[in-house]
Amino acid sequence: MYYKTRGYKVFSIANYIFLGILSLLCILPIVHILAVSFSSMAPASSNLVGFWPIGFTTDAYVKTFGNSNFINSLLVSAQRTILATVIGMVLVLVTAFPLSKEDASFRGRSLYTWFLVFTILFSGGLIPSYILVQKLGIMDTIWALILPGALSVWNVILMMNFFRGLPKELEEAAYLDGAGQFKTLMLVYIPLSMPAVATLSLFTMVYHWNAWFDGMIYMSDIKNYPLASLLQTIIVQQDFSKINVDASMLENVSQRTVRAAQIFIGALPILMVYPFLQRFFVKGLVLGAVKE
């Protein structure tokens, strides 16, 4: 066998080492930030911290959570993520169900499909969308963050393909038992689609937690900034001109440990849902790939 040869054994050891290093490279920057956030100010600002805290302290986190701007943004992000995921999933389910029918049994299906798919291919672009949100009068409200992206056509296509994979006999049986289309969706299709619903919900949650650009352009008051937008403005751009920040915020972000703590808290929800996400996403990709 090939793996018993000397040459292959040498390759194999080198391969394990190489892959091991690459994997570590993906996680070490995050470990470094975590270590800095738990270190004392002096070793952190003179760049002595590696991957383990020096002079362990939770000072940076106490300061971060004592800041009203930060707490506010955390709440806006949580509210946005929950609302957007619920609305998004309801929309995906009720849209995917009719589109999963055969052309012959639901006339107009392909017209609806093209109407929606065209929005993937072409878009009006940034400026017209911005003017629209302005004209609708939803600037500085949570709806500016939720409504424009509420309908994800990609997710509809994934869900549609999942529905199509369910046995046709179920629908026929429901029809013979006297169920209308709404009942068929509610009592037959949705209960059977929980794996797909779970996958898409997690993806939607990650998307909305991470979204920062819309918050930055549609919100003028810092009280309405979601966390990602706040971090973008305060830590990445270090721009304090557009918004009036608390004095304590200004003082805090000049400290490396506090910046690290804020970045880590921004990543934490993703790190927490990641194990569940990982279990689903391979399946999720396959679910979209199966076509007839």
Binding site: M1, Y2, Y3, T5, Y16, F18, L19, L22, S23, L24, C26, I27, P29, I30, H32, I33, N47, L91, V94, T95, F97, P98, K101, S105, F106, F115, T119, L121, S123, G124, G125, L126, I127, P128, S129, I131, L147, P148, A150, G180, Q181, F182, L185, N210, W212, F213, L231, I235, V236, R256, Q262, I263, G266, L271, L277, Q278, F281, L285, V286, K291
Partner: protein, 317 residues
């Protein structure tokens, strides 16, 4: 069931109309279900598309769509005269092409190497670690990169100095900035990109390897003559589909990493449109640049979907 009996008793033409009526009677809830999606698509997608008319106007927000002056193709003429536009398009192309090529080779290589790992636990841990950066946003990664790439004692520069080099200003020097964009993008996405290749690898018939073994091929030859050819179709699909991204050099990433020092080499179409339209208020011209990008992008996407279908028999929709 009553309806069905009716159909059977009548002539062919009448049967058709009855069937149509029956279809409507049963299907009206389907149309109702699509109302929210259609409304949202109209308001948030099709109305902005109509808003593209401001590319043909000298749009002033206080005058509105109907009062603003029409200038015809003036903005498009300006597009080719405005000094920065050429540079911005060139930056976009060069950054995107490097990202596409590196973003194809890295996951492919990684998947083939990972396929040689037979310790299942090691394989799972590796996969868990390399998929992770894909899910973190560029805001978080931008914050981390600013910290570790800092010329004043960031982690990476400490390593560079330890190896005997001078500290590098990764985010402040144009060429290093492009390099950083490409490497950090590959770092974020290569793990996630391996998924499609690993799926294809799992589908290779083991009998092929057994036959090669009997014929005396070593593992390298097996990889060269079985594994890589088996990965060709999916590689072609990934390659053609990424063609549609050739004008997307990654707004989120560039926006979170760039600064005025690197505008000449790092400014891309999307960031240019943002600064011009939202910050400087040149809404009409920014829309023109955006329209140019969307139009070329749409054509490229359609061409790439066609190509993927023709070359690898892969249908996106």
């Amino acid at each position: 069931m009553k309806d069905l009996n009716l159909v059977a008793e009548k002539g062919p033409n009448e049967a058709l109309t009855t069937k149509k009526r029956w279809n409507m009677k049963r299907n009206w809830p389907l149309h109702v279900m699509l109302i929210p999606a259609v409304l949202l698509a109209i308001v948030f997608q099709y109305v902005p598309m109509a808003g593209i008319i401001i590319a043909f106007q000298d749009f002033k927000p206080w005058l509105g769509f109907f009062e603003s002056e029409w200038v015809g193709l003036e903005n498009f003429r300006y597009l080719f005269l405005y000094p920065d536009v050429d540079q911005v398009i060139w930056n976009t192309l060069i950054i995107a092409v490097f990202k596409i090529v590196a973003g194809l080779i890295a996951p492919l290589t990684f998947a083939v190497l990972l396929n040689e790992v037979r310790l299942m636990a090691f394989k799972r841990v590796t996969q868990t670690l390399v998929y992770l950066p894909h899910f973190l946003s560029w805001v978080i990664l931008g914050g981390i990169l600013l910290d570790i790439l800092s010329p004043q004692g960031g982690m990476v520069n400490k390593l560079v100095v330890a190896l005997g080099g001078e500290p590098i200003f990764f985010l402040g020097d144009g060429n290093w900035f492009r390099f950083t964009l490409i490497v950090s993008d590959v770092w974020k996405e290569f793990g996630f990109g391996t998924i499609v290749f690993l799926a294809s690898l799992a589908g290779i018939n083991p009998a092929l390897y057994e036959a090669a073994e009997v014929d005396g091929a070593n593992r390298f030859k097996q990889t060269l003559h079985i594994t890589l050819p088996a990965l060709m179709p999916i590689t072609i699909v990934v390659m053609t589909l990424s063609l549609g991204n050739i004008l997307n050099a990654g707004f989120d990433q560039v926006f979170n990493l760039y600064n005025p020092l690197v505008y000449d080499k790092g400014d891309i179409i999307d960031t240019f449109v943002y600064r011009l339209g939202i910050l400087n208020g040149k809404m009409s011209f920014a829309t023109t640049v955006g329209l140019f990008k969307s139009a070329v992008g749409t054509v490229l996407i359609i061409v790439s979907y066609r190509l993927a279908y023709k070359l690898a028999n892969y249908r996106v929709f």
